[in-house]
Assembly symmetry: C4
Homo-oligomer: 204 residues x 4
C-alpha cells in the first residue's frame, strides 16, 4: 500500500477512460431514437405518416451501426493501448466529442433528405462530421504510438498497418464531403462503404 | 507482458461488450420516461389530464419491464458466451439497435391506444419491433453456438433448449403482429404473455 | 474451465445487476436537467424569466439529491446481497422503474407549484411516486433476507434493523400523500425529512 | 467469507461511487448535443440557418471539453481517495449535481450570445454554474483530506498542492461571474483559461 508518491501522474491504467468512453458511446447511440417521432397526424393517417418518415428509419439504422462500429474500433484501439497520459485523455475526449455530435447531423440528414438544395448541405454536414471523427481517431492512434503507450506486443509493423487502416476513412469521408454537393446518394454510399470496411476484421 | 502478437484478434473477452450493452439498455429503458408529460392543462384540470394519460403509464410500465427482461436474458446469454468475435459484436449491435428502438413504438402505442384505426397500426409497429428484437436475439444466440463461442459447460442439449426457449418469442410476436389488425388488446396480451414467459427462470 | 453445467442458474453474482442499476440511476438523475429551460423570453427579460423558474431549481436539487440518496442506499443493499436469482432481478427492475419514473412527477411539481388546486395533485403524485419506490425497496430487501441471498455476516438482527430503517419511508411517504391534499408545503417537507433520514449513516 | 459484521459501514471501497459518477458524467456530456437543432428553416436556407447557429457549436465544444476535463480531474481525485464514507458520497453527489446542471446554462449561453442585455445574464449564470462546481470540488477534496480518506502515498505536501490547484478555479470563476456584467467575451475567456489550466498535467 505504501507506494512512493507518483510524480505528475505520468501513467495511469486505461480502465476508467474506457468505462467513461463506453458510457458516452452508449448514450450517444441511444439518443438517436429521440429523432424518431410523428406529430400532427390526421385521424386514420398514422400508417401514411410513418411511411413518409422512411429517411428517419434509414438514417437511424445507418448512424446506429456507424457509432457501434466506431465503438468496436475504439475498443480494439484501447486493447492495444496499455497506458494513458493527460494528452491521450484529451485526444480521446475530442474523439468522443465528434461521436457525441453524430446524432445532430443524423437528424439533419433525416429531415432534409429528398428536399432539394438543402439535401446537399445536410449530406455534407453528415460526411463532414464523420471526417472530423476520423481525424480525431487517427490523432489518438498516432499519439499513442509515438509516445509508446501501446502494449509491448504491438510491433512497429502492426502499428503502421493500424494507421493505414485508420487512414482509409480519412480519404473516403473527404471524398464524401466533396461529392455531397454533386450527388447526395453517392456521398452517403461512400459513408456506408467506410462503415462496412471498418466492420470487417483487421487482417493484422 | 511480452505476449506474442495476436493475429487478427480472433477472440476477445466479453467484458467491454457487456458493459457497453449494459449502458445501452440502461439509457433505452430510462428514455421511456420522456414520453410521460402533460401539456396545455386548463387550470384545475391536472388530475383529469393525468387520468386521460393512463395508456402512457401502462405502456411505460410494460415497456420498462419488457426491456428489463430482455436485459436479464441478454445477461444470461453472455454468461454462456465466453468469447466474442467481430461478427458476434455486429450481431449484438443489431440486437441493441432493436432494443434502443423500443421507446419509439412505445410512444406510438401510448398516443394511439383508443384512437380507432390508428390503434391497429401502432400495435402492429409495437409487436413488429419486438419481433425484430426476437429475430436478432436468436441470430446472436445461434451464431455463438455455431462458432463455439460458448463456455465448455454448455452441452449441445443445453444450447438446443436455449434456442427453443428463444424461439418462443418468434412465434408469439409473429402472431401478435397479425392479430394487431384484428384486435389490439389480444395482440398486446400476447406481447405481455411473452414477457412473463421470459421472466420465468429457464428450466435448463 | 470445465465446470459442471449449472442447473437452472439458481445463483449468479451481483456484478452485472449492479452495473446495470448504476447506469439506470445515472441516466434518471441526469434527465432531471432536461426539465430546466426557458422559452419565449421577451428581449431583456431573461433575468426575470429565470427568477420565475425558481420552483424548477428547487425541485431539480431536491429530486437530484433524493435519487442520489436512493442510489446510495441501493448500493448499501447490494453490499449485503451476495447472490441474485430471477425474482430478485425482477424486484430490482420494479424498483428501478419507480426510480426512473421520478423525473416525471418532479417536472409536474415544478410546473404546478404555486398554481392553486393543481399544486395539491402534483404534490400527491410526487409523494406517491416516492411511496411506490419505498414499497419496491422494502420488497427487494425482504425477499433477499427471506431467500438467504445476503452475506453470511448479516445476522438476523442486522437484517431486522435494515428492514425497520427501510420501513421509515413507507410511513413518512404515506403521510406525505395524504397531507398533499391539505398542505403542499408540509407534504414536501416530509419528503425532504425522509431524504435527510436516509442520508444519515445507518447505526447498524 | 464469514467476516465480522461491519459496524455502521464506516469505510467502503470507491468502485461503485466511481462507476456511478462515470455514468453521470457520460450522460451529462452527451446531453449537450440535444441543444443543437434547427427549426422552421425556409426552403434552401439550411446552410444559412446552420451558420446562424455558430454560438451553439462553440458552446457545445467548450462545455463538452469543460465537462470532460472536470471528469478527468474527478478521476484523478478518486485515484487519491481510497475510502469513502456517507459524507463523501453526499459531497460527491452535490458535485455531480453541479456537473449535471451545466447543459442548462450552456443552452442559455448559446441562445443569448449576441442578444444585448440578456447576454450578460446568460454569461453570469454560466460562470456561476462553474463556480458552484468549483466550490463542490474543493469541498469534496478538503473533506477527503481531513478525514484521512486519501491513500497513504499522499503526503500533506501533495494534498496541500492539490488544494491550491483546485482553488485556482474558485478565483477565476468568481472573477468571471463579476466580469460577465461588464464584458461577456472576457468572462468566457476566463472560463476557457480555467479549462486549459486544468487540462494541463499537475506538477505534483
Amino acid at each position: 500500500m505504501a507506494q512512493p508518491p507518483p510524480l505528475a501522474q505520468p501513467d495511469t491504467p486505461t480502465d476508467r477512460t474506457e468505462s467513461f468512453s463506453d458510457g458516452v458511446f452508449a448514450v450517444a447511440i441511444t439518443l438517436l431514437v429521440l429523432d424518431l417521432s410523428v406529430h400532427n397526424v390526421p385521424s386514420g393517417g398514422l400508417a401514411q405518416a410513418l411511411g413518409h418518415k422512411w429517411p428517419h428509419y434509414v438514417t437511424f439504422a445507418v448512424s446506429f451501426l456507424t457509432i457501434g462500429i466506431i465503438w468496436s474500433n475504439h475498443h480494439s484501439m484501447f486493447e492495444r493501448i496499455v497506458r494513458v497520459d493527460r494528452t491521450l485523455v484529451l485526444l480521446n475526449l475530442v474523439l468522443l466529442m465528434t461521436v457525441t455530435f453524430i446524432p445532430f447531423p443524423t437528424g439533419l440528414l433525416a429531415s432534409y433528405l429528398r428536399s432539394g438544395a438543402d439535401e446537399h448541405v445536410a449530406a455534407a454536414v453528415y460526411a463532414g462530421s464523420l471526417l472530423l471523427m476520423s481525424i480525431a481517431f487517427i490523432a489518438t492512434n498516432t499519439y499513442a504510438a509515438r509516445r509508446e503507450l501501446l502494449g509491448e506486443w504491438i510491433t512497429p509493423e502492426i502499428a503502421r498497418q493500424q494507421l493505414l487502416r485508420a487512414s482509409f476513412g480519412l480519404f473516403v469521408y473527404s471524398a464524401a464531403v466533396g461529392l455531397a454537393f454533386v450527388d447526395t446518394v453517392t456521398s452517403l454510399v461512400l459513408c456506408a462503404v467506410s462503415a462496412v470496411y471498418y466492420a470487417l476484421p483487421a487482417r493484422v
